[in-house]
Amino acid sequence: MTSELSRREFLAISTLLGCALPLAGCSNLNGYVADSFGGGIPEKISVPDSPQIDPAFHLISRAGFGPWPGDVERINKQGAKAWIEEQLEPESIDDRLCDFRSKRFESVFLDPGTCYEFKREALRKDLCRYHLMRSVYSKRQLLESMVEFFSDHFNIYIEKGDCIYLKATDDRSVIRKNALGRFHDLVLASATSPAMLVYLDGKENKKEGPKGIPNENYARELLELHTLGVDGGYTQNDVYEAARCLTGWRLGSDSKRGTAFFDPNLHDDGEKIVLGKKIRAGGGEKDVAALVNIACNHPSTAKYIAKKLVSHFVSEEPPQALLNRVAKRYSETGGQIKPMIREILYSNEFKESAGSKMKRPFQYVVSCLRATGADTMAGDEVLEYLTRMGHGPFQYPTPDGYPTEANPWLGTLLWRWNFAFALCSNSIETAKVELADLCNAVGLEDLAGIKKSPATLFAYLAGRRPNAEESKAFKDYLSQRNFEDEKVRDELVGLILSSPAFQKV
């Protein structure tokens, strides 16, 4: 942790930013703020010196988006356990520096009604930039990682219908609020979230006349994707019955625009039987809570959520023993998320899995920005790279969320390389790096030093010493470059960020 800010300093800078941020050239101001509060690149960073990935490096790479300069040392000093426990209590971590940087995206803090006064384009940019900024700069790295996880799990495509006006509220009061809370609460909040009611047509699901036909879209995904999983043992009839429970939820108009309400006249208030459990007639708007409880308490849900979490943190092929332990935590705590995360992060399976997963494009971009200590406002150019790689925030059309496994992303290597080279040569307008400072901090004071020891830069960025083949590749590369030119340093850092080692996590 950096030193605590004094409240007075905080307010002074806050005022300064409040006035100056709408002006051009704010990225410099951001750098100024970062420097003032020790959020930039430390003067000296010690570099991992083992052929195996440093455990602290592994921890923050999986439980977050990779280390900011100096993070690995900080975790090693604090101890992994203390770091994990602190991350599990995000409120205990002073994150005002990140709050400064991201407060300019004003629409993400507003209610849906007010959001309707903004243009779609402005809302899209605010949302995506806010999401990216927090991932890069938040010290609550585990929280941000879980926000990304659940944003996929409860995926909402902001280009569908009015979702764009409603997603910011969903992000705040469904995802962020419950990302480290209780799974049942997350599902229940999501079920009546205005953005979800639009995205999966819940607002159109109503009892209509004696031969009413409900809209099954949300009910199906609730069982298939959000809770039990496709092999979780539900039937087509369960989907139908679940859809009946969810009839009657609508969105308001005029002054209530974008807020959800329950219309009893459109609700099918008869008895329902879901997954063999009876929901009595006359439940009205309480049907949704009853349904969510039945689905969340189903043993398949414990297994399914355990599997998704272990796949996220440990491996695409999750070890069965760990799955069983995590599912047990879910069941015995009634769906508490923190005990599951503890079970995973403290496990040997987690420790032994270092470097075995592939980063998705979002994680790749964020980890590049963090590793280089970049000063970014997460502008259009950065988002463009994400879009090109098919991983723009909240841009996934279908409700299964972005794929988590490596295979679908294997076609993105070229775009990753070009992002790395553009970033390192400072040719991205809204993301600037000071590679001379970074090289200095790891003890490489000039170009001659860098030429002599590319292994030091590699170890800093990859969390381990290079192997023989990697060393030879860098040596061969350097022998063909003219070391009078500072651009070679930029290219070398870009090359390390492009290497297979940095694609892995």
Binding site: D201, I213, R220, V230, M358, D400, Q480, P500
Partner: protein, 401 residues
């Protein structure tokens, strides 16, 4: 080590990949309509009164009607959505065949399960391993593949190419190159070749394939592309994707399989009729296909285009003026030598009696793998269909004349 010229490096890379065939005599273009397309509103069974009865607001008007809203009569039973007018000539010339009542044996009604099953070429809960196009490429060509043998348009490789020996996901070919800070990016490409070559994990092959692709594309990049025969690609991602495919085909870079997606067919809510949500997608599809067909007039012997979706939709409209997930759909094939200009396959009826009970759709009469098998065997000259669909016994439709 002496400074290596870019040309030398490119030559070395090209030599390494031994069997780079410049020409491919057959190219299969697979278009996937994601979301479950309502093909009943594209090839309309206008002679079945039930269709109009159970689709009170979203049906497409009878072809006997006047004005631009009327569907276009194809035969005594079927008519075409007016927004598909651009492909009517292809159909009339007999180069387009439509097969009714195609689908999977997957009962889940899930987009993802069903798309995965189809892209993997599997039966329900029967996994053949990898994607069907990947298996086709292996069965057909052995190791005789180029980095541009299989291309998907878009950011990600589709499941159908899972396990393909060399497949590339691209958006446009114009910017496929390494933009390194220093002069002579070949030095960087060489370093990456070493680094990815030494990798022992999943990244090794895609890394090296990407580097080989770069050298192939280098030559294409310099020339500006002019579509042939006044082909007018509309302004849509779909049409832009088809344009890139046409460009690769005409450049003879060895393209064997291309995948293009058109998303957004999941019309649960206010689907529309002659205009509206689905009509906009149909228009995009029709205009894109027409431009693609015109552009590739000189390559008709070479190119076969297949258009499928994961399932059709319910036969009836739901309470929110849309359609929920159904089963059977109409598959489309465009190419030479087809039994074209007709709707093949039996019409299963709209099953009015069944639908009150819940999930239903057009009955599936033909397993989707029968369509794929006939295309692979009779159009792509694949000998061993069992290598692509192991244990599957194709039915007989007779898509190819």
């Amino acid at each position: 080590m002496p400074e290596q010229s870019r040309r030398q490096f490119l030559q070395r890379l090209a030599l390494r990949s031994d069997a780079l065939s410049e020409k491919s005599d057959k190219t299969l273009v697979c278009i996937f309509l994601r979301g479950g397309a309502d093909t009943l509103n594209m090839f309309i069974p206008y002679a079945d009164d039930t269709y109009y009865k159970i689709r009170p607001t979203i049906s497409i008007p009878h072809p006997s009607g006047k004005g631009s809203d009327a569907s276009i009569r194809l035969d005594d039973f079927y008519s075409l959505h007016p927004k598909l007018a651009p492909i009517l000539p292809i159909y009339k010339e007999g180069r387009m065949a439509v097969v009714q009542a195609v689908g999977t044996d997957n009962p889940t009604g899930s987009h993802f399960e069903t798309q995965d099953q189809m892209e993997h070429g599997d039966g329900f809960k029967k996994t053949a391993g990898g994607g069907w196009l990947a298996r086709y490429l292996r069965a057909r060509f052995g190791n005789n593949l180029t980095p541009l043998s299989a291309v998907s348009i878009g950011p990600m490789l589709p499941e159908s190419l899972r396990g393909a020996p060399g497949a590339s996901a691209i958006t446009t070919i114009d910017d496929i190159r390494i933009k390194a800070p220093c002069e002579n990016p070949a030095v960087v490409a060489q370093a990456l070749t070493s680094l990815y070559g030494a990798d022992v994990g999943v990244l090794s092959i895609p890394g090296r394939d990407t580097l080989r692709l770069l050298t192939r594309v280098e030559t294409l990049r310099t020339a500006e592309y002019k579509p042939a025969n006044g082909a007018n690609y509309p302004d849509s991602n779909f049409a832009r994707g088809l344009r890139e495919v046409a460009r690769l085909i005409k450049s003879d870079v060895g393209l064997e399989v291309a995948c293009v997606d058109l998303d957004g067919w999941d019309t649960h809510f206010v689907q529309g009729s002659v205009d509206g949500q689905q009509a906009a997608l149909i228009e995009t599809l029709g205009a894109g296909l027409a431009a693609f067909d015109a552009d590739l007039a000189s390559r008709r012997k070479q190119v076969t285009t297949l258009i499928i979706t994961e399932f059709g939709r319910r036969t009836y409209e739901n309470g929110s003026l849309g359609t929920d997930h159904g089963r059977g759909f109409a598959a489309m094939v465009i190419g030479d030598g087809l039994r074209g200009g007709q709707i093949l396959g039996r019409y299963p009826g709209l099953n009015e009696a069944k639908w009150v009970l819940g999930p239903a759709g057009l009955d599936v009469i033909y397993d989707y793998r029968t369509v794929l098998s006939e295309v692979l065997t009779n159009k792509m000259a694949l000998r061993d269909i069992g290598a692509v669909f192991p244990g599957f016994e194709p039915q007989k439709i007779g898509i190819v004349a």
